[in-house]
């Protein structure tokens, strides 16, 4: 029980999740490639489309961790 981090600390760390989608989609150096393509769609396109699901998950987790309980 004592080893459990305080809710405050856990909440703080979970905020780092918000950085992931930003870094993944705002730095074209990471994804401006043709290959690997999926079903004819270049990496550039499916990588960014995939991060739409990524941002929903990241923001959703942060919401659950920080929502008000009232």
């Amino acid at each position: 029980m004592d080893q459990q981090p305080a809710p405050g600390r856990r909440n703080r760390l979970v905020l780092l999740l918000l950085l992931l989608p930003l870094v993944a989609t705002l730095v074209p150096e990471f994804y401006n490639f043709d290959k690997p393509s999926i079903g004819g769609m270049p990496f550039f396109y499916w990588w960014q489309l995939l991060w739409i699901a990524g941002v929903a998950v990241c923001v959703g987790i942060v919401y659950l961790a920080t929502r008000s309980t009232r």
Binding site: P7, L15, L26, E29, F44, Q48, A56, T66
Partner: protein, 532 residues
């Protein structure tokens, strides 16, 4: 080339338009308070919208007709750089999640209806509030006009000449918005977005199937773009422009009056935050709609309207639908685009009108105005704004409709220091924020002024070529980012220097921002979370 008039398509679009207009008038009775005659009820729907309604309202509000028309047109015209709309609508949610929640809490506590209301209460400066109000209204007006380009693109594709359908559409829209207020677009947004989700789902499966798969589409698009000197991938010199455009647009989005209105109409702080993880569903739709631009390239779509030298590329999506779909489905898709323009246009006009009534009319023209009078002013101004938008669009010929909106973004981001920093700190001096706004706005307008386009010498583009300042590079940067950095530097540098001038009165308290729900300080005692 004027396409042949198709009675079936026109009949379907007309039928959908009439159905939506009826819905718009009926909406005035929906979850109605005692009276509609106040900004609170007419302009914010009584602040009673739950998760689902807010999702449709904010989604239908932010992902506008420009989504369906201008983003694919951009990919059609310049290739990969046009895809910035996707990282833009990804980055916005993590960036604004907490700021939007704080905004909701403080506005709920004090009855603020606009960003300028908040700025006046927080910084105790009616001049700063006036600047914020004017900035919001000026940035929104071209955005309302932009929605009309979506309708016009459909009308041109259906082979109908003249501007009369635009007038009719907006007069009807103005009439039901006048009577029902924010409830009308909230209700219509349900219909609009369900139609658009269906349309997109069908389009991204059926059109690639007809054209021979995404492989064929991307190859076709690449060869068509290469002929014009563009590509389906970014060139190295486009990276900075792509990143700053996506980041800056994301930072600017929730500063628009209509976005603030959508947030404030929510029932609770949790509704706002939850929607930040649900709204990306719209981004996915936007991503696939953007690819329609490449499908149009691969299908050798010829835009209609405009001139031979500069065709109106905003028509490519309607033309693609007209060419590939059976007429009955093209009619439904056209109807969806038309309705898709009406919802955001209504919310934008309401938001800008609220801002005028609350932050210009009441403080500067009639301080004694009652809530009822304030509401009536807002109703009348919303009508004027919509008809003004038609007049603008009829008198100006627009090709790259999106550039219009980018200039709005450059302007609106200049209120970021006053609004967003104001949500977190009171360190900034009100006059330093005013000076920052002047510096940022001045620099941005100057940069826009010296940027030519292919057809004009000034205000050509919101992407600023760094070579203008003598740098040996082909790189561009989004003008708004440069402006807002100058704004922040000036505001920060002047705050200590102006310490002798009286500070404005702050009517907010730390607890008003929902502090107890924000992440507590690590290691400190902090507020107890999770106990009742």
């Amino acid at each position: 080339m004027i396409p042949a008039f198709n009675g079936l398509e026109f009949g379907i679009v007309l039928g959908m338009f009439v159905a939506v207009a009826v819905l718009g008038f009926v909406a005035s009775r929906w979850r109605r308070g005692t009276s509609l005659a106040s900004v609170e009820e007419w302009g914010l729907g009584g602040r009673r919208f739950g998760t689902v309604v807010s999702w449709f309202l904010i989604g239908g509000d932010l992902y506008t007709a420009y989504t369906f028309v201008a983003v694919p047109a951009l990919l059609f015209g310049i290739g990969a750089a046009g895809f910035f709309a996707v990282p833009y609508t990804i980055a916005v949610f993590p960036l604004v999640m907490f700021a939007a929640a704080r905004m909701w809490s403080v506005c709920h506590e004090h009855g603020y209806a606009t960003a300028a209301d908040f700025v006046r209460g927080r910084h105790g400066s009616s001049i700063l509030a006036l600047l914020v109000a004017i900035t919001g209204i000026v940035a929104t007006m071209p955005y309302i006009a932009l929605q009309l380009t979506g309708i016009r693109a459909v009308i041109e594709t259906m082979g109908i000449g003249g501007d009369w359908p635009l007038w009719i559409a907006f007069v009807v829209l103005a009439a039901y918005t006048f009577t029902s207020g924010l409830r009308a677009p909230a209700m219509v947004a349900f219909v609009k977005d369900i139609l658009i989700y269906v349309m997109v789902l069908v389009a991204v499966i059926y059109i690639p199937y007809k054209l021979g798969g995404y492989n064929v589409i991307f190859h076709g698009a690449q060869s068509a773009l290469a002929a014009k000197g563009y590509s389906t991938l970014l060139s190295g010199s486009q990276y900075l422009g792509y990143t700053t455009l996506a980041l800056g647009s994301a930072l600017a989005l929730f500063l628009y009056p209509h976005a603030v209105t959508g947030v404030l109409a929510s029932r609770s702080r949790n509704v706002v935050k939850k929607n930040m993880s649900l709204l990306p569903a719209y981004s996915l739709m936007l991503g696939f709609i953007a690819l329609l631009g490449y499908m149009a390239l691969a299908a050798h779509v010829k835009p209609v309207g405009g001139t031979a030298a500069k065709p109106d590329t905003t028509t490519i999506v309607p033309v693609l639908f007209n060419d590939e779909f059976p007429h009955w489905f093209a009619g439904i898709a056209f109807g969806a685009i038309v309705i898709g323009a009406l919802v955001p246009a209504a919310i934008m006009a309401i938001a800008a009108a609220n801002t005028f009534a609350r932050d210009i009319y009441k403080p500067y023209i009639r301080p004694a105005a009652s809530d009822r009078e304030e509401g009536l002013v807002s109703q009348i101004v919303s009508v004027i704004l919509k008809l003004g938008a038609v007049a603008v669009i009829v008198s100006l010929k627009l090709t790259f409709a999106l550039e219009f909106q980018l200039i709005g973004g450059v302007i609106v981001i200049q209120i970021l220091p006053s609004v967003v920093l104001g949500l977190y700190t009171r360190w900034y001096h009100r006059w330093a924020l005013v000076a920052g706004w002047i510096a940022g706005m001045g620099l941005s307008v100057y940069m826009l002024y010296v940027t030519p386009s292919a057809t004009t010498a000034h205000f050509g583009n919101a992407s600023f070529a760094l070579s203008t300042w003598g740098l040996h590079t082909k790189m561009t940067i989004w003008t708004g980012i440069v402006g807002v950095v100058a704004n922040l530097v000036v505001a920060t540098a002047l705050t200590p220097l102006l310490a002798r001038l009286p500070r404005g009165n702050d009517e907010t308290k730390p607890g008003d921002f929902g502090e107890a729900e924000a992440p507590p300080i690590p290691f400190g005692p902090g507020p107890v979370v999770g106990q009742t």
